[in-house]
Amino acid sequence: MHLIDQYAYSNALRRLHPGIKAGLALTIILLCLTLNEPAVGMVAALWMLGLAVGLARIPFRTFAGILLAEGTFLLLATIAVILSFSLHPSVLVGGWGIGVGPIWVSTSPASLYMGANLILRALGAASAMNFLSLTTPLVDLIDLLHRLHMPAIIIDLMTLMYRFIFVLLESLERMVRAQDSRLGFSGSYRRRMENTAWLATHLFIEAFLRSRNLQQALASRGYDGGDLRVLPIEYETDRRLLVLGLVGILSLVAVWWLV
């Protein structure tokens, strides 16, 4: 989370209007979901990789590494689609099979195509989401939702929850270090479980106390229970992303049309 957040605040497209980045990412995701061709997903992933590395200056290894992790997860999730398991030898027409002990494992070109289609289109959609999360801080996305007239209560909750993630993470790290320095996690299994329970309890109490302090701090700055009003952020526009994004979207449609 820290890594994604760090790039979101430091990439070259940071100052760009989040509406443009979110619009591009959502269009790519929709195209990957609706255009039923594996090539569409592959081209989408390549476009997003190119925009993230070329325009946003996200390191290739970072973007590719995240995509690889997601790809591994997708591969594991689609095993059931690609392979068939049976106790009796049976192979579909044109397929292949192998016996592993008492279990017969088989696949077919149709299953392989379906698996590849699922993985590539999901990767295309995931790469669009990665592009958005690595180039756009959550503050900008919350600001975008506010401009889109999302109910204020949801905006306020998102603002506070996002802020509290880091505040509580810091508290958690501090507590873990304090326990660890006194051999809190090196005793018996039972002792480790007890210490973990203590940690969870105290983190809950800390969250509760901090929320009370925050409420006092907000009130001291004139907050009387309405919306948490803050100034909108000012953004820039970048024609390069608009043009390249449009070319990318058209290329996905063209690939789907031609294949």
Partner: protein
């Protein structure tokens, strides 16, 4: 006329079984001073501060601001909080937004300012606190000193007449402390009043123009620093004499 007057104020937190946080607390706070508030942990300093902003209401007694009893209605509190600003001990308790720029804009917008006015206030406060380069940073990526300055900017953007800071300097390095003291001095030069809870007795001698000692829920002393240091009875009663001697020895 005193800026604030506390008359026989008593405050007990819910479920507090020991003595009340404040008990028969009597104090008159002068305006236009740099005031150091000292006292042991648990003596009631922070509870006293929360009364200044109307965040808590005395169970008994009365708090007056500029001669009038505090008005705890929504309108009255808005007016009070426009003039009296609190900076909390832990900046993480105060910074609610992940955007430094947006967090500072919160106070001015609550005062009913337009976006343009609020933007102006944010930039002005950021310049005063020397955090212009941090405006686009996320609050969770700031150091302790930077968070303290952002929290300070968040209240200075409201242009309060009275600034009350609870141990703001305690967790800062000497450079951070120096910077905050410079900001205080600039603010005080504009005729504003500053109250600072501190455990640094050096500040009493070299920075404060007025000192308040809170001891066991009561205001044990309120006056000039030299008067405090010369008052052997108060110095002994509050235990400040040992701390002061130690501070002098280490100098």
């Amino acid at each position: 006329m005193s800026l604030f007057t506390f008359s026989a104020v008593t405050y007990r937190y819910p479920n507090q079984t020991q003595r009340p946080a404040l008990h028969d607390f009597n104090l008159a706070i002068p305006g236009g001073e740099k005031i150091a508030v000292v006292g042991r942990n648990g003596s009631g300093k922070s509870t006293f501060f929360l009364h200044l902003n109307g965040l808590i209401k005395p169970r008994q007694g009365e708090v007056r601001f500029q001669g009038r009893p505090l008005d705890y209605s929504r309108k009255g509190l808005t007016a009070l909080r426009q003039q009296v600003a609190l900076v909390f001990q832990n900046p993480d308790d105060q910074l609610f937004s992940a955007s430094v720029f947006q967090d500072i804009s919160f106070g001015p917008l609550n005062l009913g300012m337009s976006d343009a006015e609020a933007r102006e206030r944010v930039l002005e406060a950021a310049a005063l606190c020397d955090i212009e380069h941090l405006l686009e940073q996320p609050t969770h990526a700031l150091s302790g000193g930077e968070k303290a300055r952002v929290a300070l900017a968040g209240v200075l953007a409201m242009h309060p007449d009275i600034l009350a800071a609870d141990e703001l300097l305690a967790s800062l390095d000497p450079w951070g402390r120096l910077k905050i003291r410079e900001i205080f001095d600039v603010y005080h030069a504009q005729g504003k009043t500053i109250l600072l809870i501190t455990h640094d007795l050096g500040l009493i001698k070299h920075w404060a123009t007025w000192v308040i000692v809170v001891h066991e829920g009561k205001a044990a002393f309120s006056g000039r620093a030299d008067d405090l240091l010369g008052d052997e009875a108060i110095m002994n009663e509050t235990g400040l004499v040992q701390i002061w001697r130690q501070a002098m020895q280490s100098c």
